[in-house]
Structures are given as structure tokens and as C-alpha cells.
Amino acid sequence: MSDLRSTLERGVGSATPPPDGFERMLRRRDRKQRNQRITAGTVGIAVFVAAVWIVTTGGPVDRALTPGGGGTATGPTVTEPTIAPEAAGIVGLPAPGAAPSTPEHGRLVLYLEGNVSGPPTALWVYADGRLIWGDVFGYLPEGSPTEGATGFVEQHLTPAGVEFLRTQVISTGLFEDDLALLRGPGDPPFLTIRVRNGDRLVWLTWAVEENYRVPKDAPPATPEQASTLEGIHALLTDPTSWPASAWEDQDLETFVPSRYQVSLRDFPTQGPGPEVSVGARELALLPTPAVDILRLGTKLDPAFYELTTDDARALAEALIQAGLDPVAMPMGEAVVRFELEDPYEPGNSLHVFFGPVLPHGEAVFLGPG
């Protein structure tokens, strides 16, 4: 092709945006503001009704007063914010009422993240047969459900299928001990594999130097190691190459986590800069209902909380009710995120990340750093 630009110009053809773009945008803003006012009014009425009900009946004063807390007094009116249609369901959080994947806890047998070529992949295999694919990089298997998507889907392997994958990886001989290998500049950034060998998970990371996942003095992969890793990647990312006996159920279902972890981080809105520790002052930047919901969860540290999925959804809704928009992640959309300016640190924002907790107890977060 001599000139890709002219090819694209041909693709655009005579298409131009409809006229009066700026005026239409202003009308769109007016509609949005009107909807927000209507919602705020509806919420105010509902909260008032709830308050009256509590006063007159002596009803519960704990969870029923928090958005999404499950109280019948507030009802669905309170917990359904006006969200632009494209954000319906809040990307990254399961649909209300979706049943969590069972069992809640699982023993991790195999994990792969990254790529050799082709789209990067993230997958987890558990001893109970669950195979979970994560939209960590914006890719999920073809045919993945999108309704109520969490960014993760699951399939089910037989015990023989789990063992097949594990032994295929172990038999390469690369997983006797933890290993860090360097990739060449210009290669895809990294490939990480963890596999259960005996009682422990052995990990191997193959990454470019600037990726900081491997020390600078790590050895480069030999051609044989590189070829072996390419083979493992090809096998694990191509389920069509697995034996039929590996499958218990090949249907792709949305993986619904039982819990989410919420991480609060304060760093520059744009560009590099120091990260600020999050404490009570930063926490107070959040709207009060959001802080109340966070306190329902387990405080892992001052900036880290674990919540039930229902409470995580209520938290997201409380942030939206306060006028914040969920920010889709640039790499995939497996994790919903909010950001709000930090007036104490000009140029910084307080970022609220939601990370689903996978069956082995690890939450998957995306984002800078």
C-alpha cells in the first residue's frame, strides 16, 4: 500500500458529521442535567419517605439508610441512578442479582498473563475445574457473554483437563524454581506464568527490561527457552487444541465474583509524579454515603477495603449519584474506576479502583503503577 492515509480517506468517503454539532452537544448537556435533577429529586423523595417510615415504624436504621444496602424501605428507586445507556449496569460490576461463581474459594493451579504474539491474555485455572478468562487487556474469548459483563468469563474443565494443562506446562522443565528472564526490546512487554508444582506455585516471568517485572541483571531467555514459552503460550491460549476429555462444560459464562476489593490511590491526574498516601483526609473527599458503604467492608489498610459484590455495586452507585462518572480503563474494562480531584494536592486525583476477588483470594486491579 503506497499511502495508507489515502486509503483511509477513501474509507471515510463523503462522511461528515451532521450539522450544528456544537448546538446539539449543548442540547445533549441540557438533557443530561435535567435527568440528573429529576433523579436527585426522586432520590430526595425516596429518602424522605424512608425517613418517615423509620420514624413512624421504628424500622431498622442500619443498612436500610445506605444506598444499595438492601433495605426494603429505600427500594429500587434509591439504588437506580440515572446512568447513560452506555454505562448501564456499570461496566465491570455484575448485574444486580447475578449469582456468584461457586465455590467462593478455589485452589489456583495455573495462571498465565501477557503474550508472545497476538492479543495478550489473562487466564486462571483452578483445581475445582474452573477456567477463568479475564478481560485484562481488552480481549475475551470469542462468544463471551456481554450482558451484565464483569470482564471475566468462566468455563469448566474436568479434573483430567486441569491435570493435562498443568503437566503440559510442568513437563517443559522450566518450572522447577522461580525464574525471571529478559525479553528483547520491541518484544511484547511480558509473559507471566504460575503453575502448581507440588505444594507451591512456581512462577516464571519473561519481560522486557523497562517493564520492571524482572531485575535488570536477569538473563535473557535462550532461544530454546523462548521457543518453549511460545509453545506454552500457544497451547494455553488455544483451547481448540485441548483434548475433548478436558472439558466439563465449554459454555462461556460470566464470572461473578463474591467480593470486590476497593483501592484508593492518590496520584497525578496527568503524567508522572509522586503518589500520596491515602488517609482520613483523602477518604473524606468521597461523598458521605460512599464512605458509609466502605465502612461496611473489611478494612485491609487505610486505603484498601474488601466488600461484598452487592456493597461494591452500592458504592459505585453512590459515587455516580454524587455526580462522578465511571472511567473505563484504557486497557480492557475489567475494572471500573472513578477519579476525583484532590484539593490538597493540586494536580492529583483520588482514584477509586474496583478489583474483583478471584477464587484464590487475589483481586485483579488495573491502572497506572
Partner: protein, 172 residues
């Protein structure tokens, strides 16, 4: 505690004019980029409108960024991905005055290009459009896509090769 509502405060009067300038400079280019990305001019218009509105609502902050256009591109791409994910991509034929499809033969070629683009993996399509249509450097496109410049170049290389294969001799 700050009032969260102030995060999306309407710009001051002076800022409105600055934003309108920005809007006029970027709107058509953004619309056409999204048309190449989605293959649907209604969807492209809706995405462009929403992305520019989000910039307008935060213009006090976005206008001070090194690349306000980069913010808008990133927002538009994220909106597009969200819509794909939540299956709410739908034609919104709300504008009676949208120009009708050109039925001349030159449109067949235009359709071929968009069909070839649609065959590309999303990541390659996004990289091609950001770099080749919007003129971003690999580094800046990487910031929009959340990947490094080398990965952008990789996607470009593969995307160009796929387009060449699909469009064949017509572009040689």
C-alpha cells in the same frame, strides 16, 4: 470535603469560547475517525458528541492538559468499548438531516475499506486510526490506548499488513 458536583462544573464564559474553538477544530476529524472505527455514522456521531460533551463538562481541567484532544480520543475509544461490551450499540437515527448514503460507485471502494478495517482486531484498528488518521505519534497513541509505543508500532505493523492483504492490488 469538596463538593463532587464541582468536578463537572460548567465552564466559565471565557472558557466556553475556548472550548468551542477546540470543538470546531476537532469535531469533524473525531467523527471521521470514529466512523472508520465503527463503520456506522450514527454511532460515530453519538460517540463524538458524548466524548466532546464530557470534555466540555471538565473543560477547566481538560483544557489545561497537554493534549485535550488526547483526552477526547481516549474517552471516545473507551465509550466505544463500553458500548460493545454492554451491547447497547444501536443505531440512533435521531437526526433527520443526516446526509443520505451516497449511492455512487465510488462508495463501493469506501465500503471495501471500512469492511477491511472492520476485519482487523480492535487494537490494530484503534492504533491505525489514531496514528494514520488522527496523526498521533506512537508514544501519544500509546498513552491513549494505555500501552507502550512499541506495542502501538507492533499493532500498526500487523494492521497495515492485514489491510494490504485484504485490499490487495488496489492499493499497491
Amino acid at each position: 470535603m469538596i463538593e463532587p458536583a464541582s468536578l463537572s462544573a460548567v465552564p466559565e464564559v471565557g472558557e466556553v469560547w475556548a472550548f468551542e474553538e477546540f470543538f470546531l477544530a476537532e469535531h469533524k476529524r473525531l467523527f471521521q475517525a470514529l466512523y472508520l472505527l465503527t463503520g456506522d455514522r450514527y454511532e460515530a456521531d453519538d460517540l463524538a458528541q458524548e466524548a466532546l460533551l464530557r470534555a466540555y463538562e471538565r473543560w477547566d481541567r481538560v483544557g489545561a492538559m497537554d493534549s485535550p484532544a488526547g483526552y477526547v480520543y481516549r474517552t471516545a475509544l473507551n465509550l466505544h468499548r463500553s458500548r460493545l461490551r454492554t451491547l447497547v450499540v444501536r443505531a440512533r437515527r435521531v437526526f433527520a438531516d443526516v446526509p443520505a448514503e451516497d449511492l455512487s460507485t465510488s462508495v463501493a471502494a469506501s465500503h471495501d475499506v471500512r469492511r477491511a478495517l472492520a476485519q482487523l482486531p480492535r487494537g490494530q484498528r484503534e492504533a491505525l486510526i489514531l496514528v494514520e488518521w488522527l496523526g498521533l505519534a506512537s508514544e501519544e497513541a500509546g498513552r491513549v490506548l494505555g500501552i507502550d509505543a512499541a506495542s502501538v508500532r507492533g499493532r500498526l505493523h500487523r494492521g497495515r499488513a492485514s489491510l494490504r492483504d485484504q485490499l490487495g492490488d488496489r492499493d499497491e
